[in-house]
Structure formats: structure tokens, C-alpha cells
């Protein structure tokens, strides 16, 4: 039984260095490198597809950084095999502090073969309390929503999201291309991304930069009385989102 390893780093020289050093470790620790990834999203794609035993995860990466990737790994559904994580960083005081607090092992660049071997031997799956401690000490730049559907996981970039709408147990996540169902409360999403979304209604949040404008809609009710309310026009979509009376102040500040 060899251990299957995934290398995640945005710098090609750093990945090659790890390949060389893992090669040196092979005598003491049977292993195969099953893949390389340049950021968290690529890493998660490979992790959800195949079986990876250990992932060596760099912290500072574009698109999705190492901390966010680790949080996504910790939140993977039961159906996916969760790999053990070895963090690596050249110099990140925040992350290092977070690892020390949560008793998670990490490698410092430049890598050393003996240190790498020791880390491989004691690597463990991140447990929920460790994940929580890391997220508190070094808040990741959350840029993705991980959405589980039919045993698969989709990572939807936050900047693609146009609006979020609460329906009973789920939240509908709308992008220009399609809709997803997401299991989290609207209030929690609003708290997590206050700069990205604006509250329109008790059951909807809209991406602030996707607001194209507001329209006044006049409806004649059955009793002949005219009633009007405001709707938001969302960029790139035909549908309109109603703005509740309580939230009408955002129209003025827009």
C-alpha cells in the first residue's frame, strides 16, 4: 500500500522541489504522487474525483488559497474521502499562529527532506475543532460556495453569484448560467459577506454589483385600488426581485 499524495502550490519550482524531496522519502515511506494543482479549486477537483491520501497544501495561492481549500476539504460530504493535510508556507505569521493554536503540522519553505518525512508520517485528517480554530485565527479569503449535488461538489465563485433566495430548507444560488440549491441560512450568508450582498427582502439577497437599477411597479388590485411596490433589476437577468417596504431605504442610498 503506497500513500497517494497531491501537491498543491502555485509556483512551479516549489512543486518540483517537493517532487524531488518526496522521491528521496520514498525509501522510508512508500508513496506515489497522484497529481499537482496550482490553486485550491484545482486541488478540490482532484480530491473529489480520485482518492488522495495526503495533500500538501501551500497557503498563499491565487483563486482559492490554502486555508479556504482546507476549510472546503473539512466540509466535504461523507461520500468523498477526506485527505490528510500538510500545510506549507514560506512566511505567513497569521497562518503559522493558526496552525500552532490548532496543533496542526506544517512545513516551512525552503523544504527539508527530514522534516517532510516526519510530516508525512504524522499527517492527520483535519478534525472539525481544528478547522474551526484555524478559521478563527487566520480567516480565509472566502471566495467560493461549495455546493453538493448528487454526490458531486461544485465550487461556485462568489463573484458569479447574482442573487440568493431563501426557499424553505434551502437557498437558491443564482448565477448567469444556472441555479444551485445550497444548504445554509440566508442570515449566515449575509453575515459572512456583508460587502458583497445587499438585503432586498426577508427572503432574498442580491449581489450589490449586480444591481442594474430599481423599477416601480403599479398593480391594480381586485377592488380597483392601485398599489405600487419597488423591484430590483438584476444585471443580465430578465426577472425582477421585489424590494420589501422595510428595505426601501437602499433605493435611495443606491
Amino acid at each position: 500500500m503506497t500513500t497517494k499524495i497531491l501537491i498543491v502550490d502555485d509556483e512551479a519550482p516549489a512543486r518540483r522541489r517537493l517532487l524531488d524531496l518526496l522521491d528521496d522519502c520514498r525509501v522510508d515511506f512508500p508513496l506515489t504522487v497522484v497529481g499537482e494543482a496550482g490553486n485550491g479549486v484545482e486541488a478540490l477537483e482532484q480530491i473529489t474525483q480520485g482518492d488522495v491520501d495526503i495533500v500538501i497544501l501551500d497557503i498563499r495561492m491565487p483563486v482559492m488559497d490554502g486555508i479556504e481549500a482546507a476549510m472546503q476539504i473539512a466540509a466535504l460530504p461523507e461520500t468523498v474521502k477526506r485527505p490528510k493535510i500538510i500545510f506549507s508556507t514560506a512566511f505567513d505569521a497569521h497562518a503559522v499562529k493558526a496552525f500552532e493554536l490548532s496543533a496542526v503540522d506544517y512545513l516551512l519553505k525552503p523544504y527539508r527532506a527530514d522534516r517532510l518525512l516526519a510530516a508525512l508520517k504524522k499527517a492527520e485528517v483535519l478534525n472539525p475543532s481544528q478547522a474551526k480554530a484555524i478559521a478563527q485565527a487566520a480567516p480565509p479569503a472566502r471566495r467560493f460556495l461549495s455546493i453538493h449535488e448528487r454526490g458531486k461538489v461544485a465550487f461556485v465563485p462568489l463573484e458569479d453569484v447574482l442573487y440568493l433566495k431563501a426557499e424553505q430548507k434551502y437557498v437558491t444560488v443564482r448565477t448567469a448560467a444556472r441555479e444551485y440549491l445550497y444548504e445554509e441560512s440566508l442570515t449566515k450568508l449575509e453575515e459572512a459577506f456583508p460587502n458583497i450582498f445587499t438585503r432586498l427582502h426577508r427572503n432574498s439577497l442580491v449581489a450589490t454589483k449586480a444591481i442594474a437599477g430599481f423599477e416601480r411597479v403599479v398593480e391594480t388590485a381586485e377592488d380597483g385600488q392601485d398599489a405600487s411596490h419597488w423591484v430590483a433589476v438584476v444585471r443580465g437577468l430578465d426577472e425582477r426581485l421585489p424590494v420589501s417596504r422595510r428595505q426601501q431605504h437602499i433605493i435611495r442610498s443606491f
Partner: protein, 355 residues
């Protein structure tokens, strides 16, 4: 090593010991303002009533402004001579010149009594000259304090500046990249180490003297060579150098920290989904007697709290050094234009002959 250091320190143009550059527009403006304030104070003291302040101020100005202009002209004209002298000789010569100007003014006023409205008969020549020298001393003390405040020579400030210049992130990643090259491409590893050595030599040198722009650009190219190995296709650099034959003097490490910031904040976190390279642009141009440098990199608003402290620190550091060397004649501005972060530096063109 230590001998070498003290030697270069004494040779370096130490701004805290020398006279300010009176040819500098900023220095001139401050000087005029300072003397005007002193005149106002004198006017207030001499005035009997509040409405008397203004006429008093005018009278005093008639005596003060002409010799002040004369002093400015003389000290600017003598600048070439001043910079070659020791700090003490410079000060003595300056005070002698000032005393001469004071005496000349006193004599002229006495000669053309009827032209000037005021009366100086109550003041003796020695009093006038002493007052004049006293004012000069006040001005010099002001400029000295200002130079001290801005001086990077202060140990603490120097240490801080040094720390902000070597980003540990860059150092450790570069060492890791060299290690990765050794087995497969030893020649490239050699080149990279040579570039690193040269970069660190400049980073650790005494950087108080101005250096030719061509040297600073060469240093930046070495730094970018190193980053290119780490970042590969993700980094693209466009140089647009239009300063032609002139090789102006600039504060050392004026550009390199800014380029390092551009790579760290602009290129590295780039969303490389389309495998699009991040382009770093460096434009150098001249306009009359002003050197203009514009550096720009892709900019994206980060969703997370960013660690922009390092960037602000570097910009503040460079702005202070520009101020120390060129006072109000140099400027550094940073702004975001059309999803690019842009830093613009303007500074007067000086070269080895004019210093």
C-alpha cells in the same frame, strides 16, 4: 567592513549637517514663509494699535524682503561651491555672505533715505547685522530640525526601512526556487544565486547617496529575473524607457520596493483562470527638467481583509526619502485607474555634474 562603512558615511552627503539646497523651490517657499512670519511677529510687537500692524508689517518688509531675495540668489549661486566644502566651512562662508548682504542693505538704505519711507537712524549697523544673522540662524535651525526629522540616517528608521525592504516571503520562496533548480538546471540556479547576491548587496548597502537611474533599473531587472523563475508565465513585464541619453540621479531603491509590491499584491494573487499573464508596466519619461516614472499593475478588490500594510509602508518610506533629497520638487502618488493600481513618481532631473 566597519572601516569601509564609516568612510562612506562621512563621504556621503549627510543632509543633517549640511545647508539646505537653496535652489530648491520648496526650500525657497518655506524660507519666504518663515521670514514673513518673523516679520509679522515684529510688526505686532511694534504696533500701537491693531490697525497699525499692517503698516508696520509693510515698513519691516521693505527692509527685509530685498536682502532676503539677495540672500536666496547668492546662496543658490554659491551652491556648486557649497557642496564641495566641508559642513563647517560651508556654514562659515554662508554666514560671512549673509553679513555682507546685511551690511550692503544697511548702507543702501542709509544712502537712499528719501526713497524709503522708514527711518533707520535709531538703529546702528552692528545691530542691524546682528539681527540679520540671528534671523538667518533661526532659519538654519528650522531646516536642520526638518532634515533630522526626515533623515533616514536615524538608526531606528534605518533598521525599519531595511526590514520593510526584504520581504521574508520573497527571500524564502526564492531560496526554495533555487533549491528546486539545482538538480535539474544547475546553470539557471547559478544565475539566480548571482542575481540574488547582487540584489542583497544593494539592499544591505549604505543607501544615502543618489545613484544613476540606469543602476536602479538594472537592479530591478535582476529582481524581476528572480521573480520570473518563481512565477513563470504568470508575470509579464513591459518596460517603456524614454529618458534616452540622460541618466538622472535617483534615490537608490526607489523603484525596486515598488516593483516588489506590484508583484506581491498585483501579480501573485491574480485570478489566473484564463491563464492570462499579469502585466507589470514601467514607463520612464522626461518632460523638461522633470523625470516621470509610472508603474502599474493589475488590481483587484480583495474580498478578504488584505495585508496592505507592507505596501503603505514602502510608499511612505520612498516618499520620505524623495522629500529628503528633493523636498517639494518631487512627488509620489498612488491611485487606482481602470482596474490597475498605478504609482507615479515625479522628480527633478539632476545628474553627476549638477550635484
Amino acid at each position: 567592513m566597519s572601516i569601509n562603512q564609516t568612510n562612506s558615511a562621512t563621504r556621503a552627503h549627510d543632509a543633517t549637517r549640511h545647508l539646505p539646497n537653496f535652489c530648491n523651490l520648496g526650500v525657497m517657499l518655506q524660507l519666504l514663509l518663515l521670514v514673513s512670519i518673523l516679520c509679522l511677529a515684529a510688526g505686532v510687537l511694534r504696533a500701537q494699535t491693531l490697525s497699525d500692524v499692517w503698516p508696520q508689517l509693510l515698513t519691516i518688509s521693505i527692509y527685509v524682503q530685498p536682502p532676503l531675495m539677495l540672500s536666496l540668489l547668492a546662496s543658490c549661486a554659491l551652491r556648486r561651491l557649497f557642496v564641495r566644502m566641508s559642513a563647517r566651512a560651508e556654514l562659515v562662508l554662508f554666514l560671512v555672505v549673509e553679513a555682507l548682504i546685511a551690511w550692503l542693505t544697511f548702507w543702501l538704505i542709509g544712502e537712499y533715505k528719501n526713497v524709503f519711507s522708514g527711518d533707520l537712524s535709531a538703529v546702528a549697523a552692528w545691530q542691524f547685522i546682528t539681527l540679520f544673522i540671528f534671523t538667518t540662524a533661526c532659519v538654519l535651525i528650522y531646516f536642520n530640525l526638518r532634515a533630522r526629522e526626515l533623515s533616514p540616517a536615524l538608526a531606528e528608521a534605518r533598521l525599519q526601512a531595511l526590514q520593510s525592504r526584504i520581504r521574508p516571503h520573497f527571500l524564502f520562496n526564492s531560496i526554495n526556487a533555487v533549491l528546486s533548480l539545482i538538480r535539474h538546471e544547475p546553470k539557471r540556479a547559478e544565475r539566480m544565486l548571482e542575481d540574488m547576491a547582487e540584489l542583497f548587496r544593494v539592499l544591505m548597502a549604505d543607501n544615502r547617496r543618489l545613484t544613476p537611474l540606469s543602476d536602479e533599473i538594472a537592479l530591478c531587472r535582476r529582481y524581476l529575473e528572480i521573480e520570473q523563475i518563481r512565477l513563470g508565465d504568470r508575470l509579464k513585464v513591459e518596460w517603456n524607457l524614454q529618458h534616452q541619453a540622460i541618466d538622472p540621479l535617483v534615490p537608490p531603491l526607489m523603484l525596486q520596493p515598488l516593483i516588489e509590491n506590484a508583484v506581491y499584491h498585483g501579480i501573485e494573487p491574480m485570478m489566473s483562470i484564463n491563464n492570462e499573464a499579469g502585466v507589470l508596466k514601467i514607463d520612464v519619461s522626461t518632460k523638461g527638467k522633470v523625470l516621470n516614472i509610472i508603474l502599474s499593475n493589475p488590481y483587484q478588490i480583495d474580498l478578504a481583509p488584505t495585508h496592505s500594510g507592507g505596501n503603505k509602508m514602502a510608499i511612505k518610506n520612498i516618499r520620505e526619502r524623495l522629500q529628503l533629497h528633493f523636498d517639494a520638487e518631487a512627488s509620489l502618488n498612488a491611485r487606482v485607474i481602470a482596474s490597475r493600481y498605478e504609482v507615479e513618481i515625479s522628480l527633478p532631473i539632476i545628474n553627476e555634474q549638477t550635484v
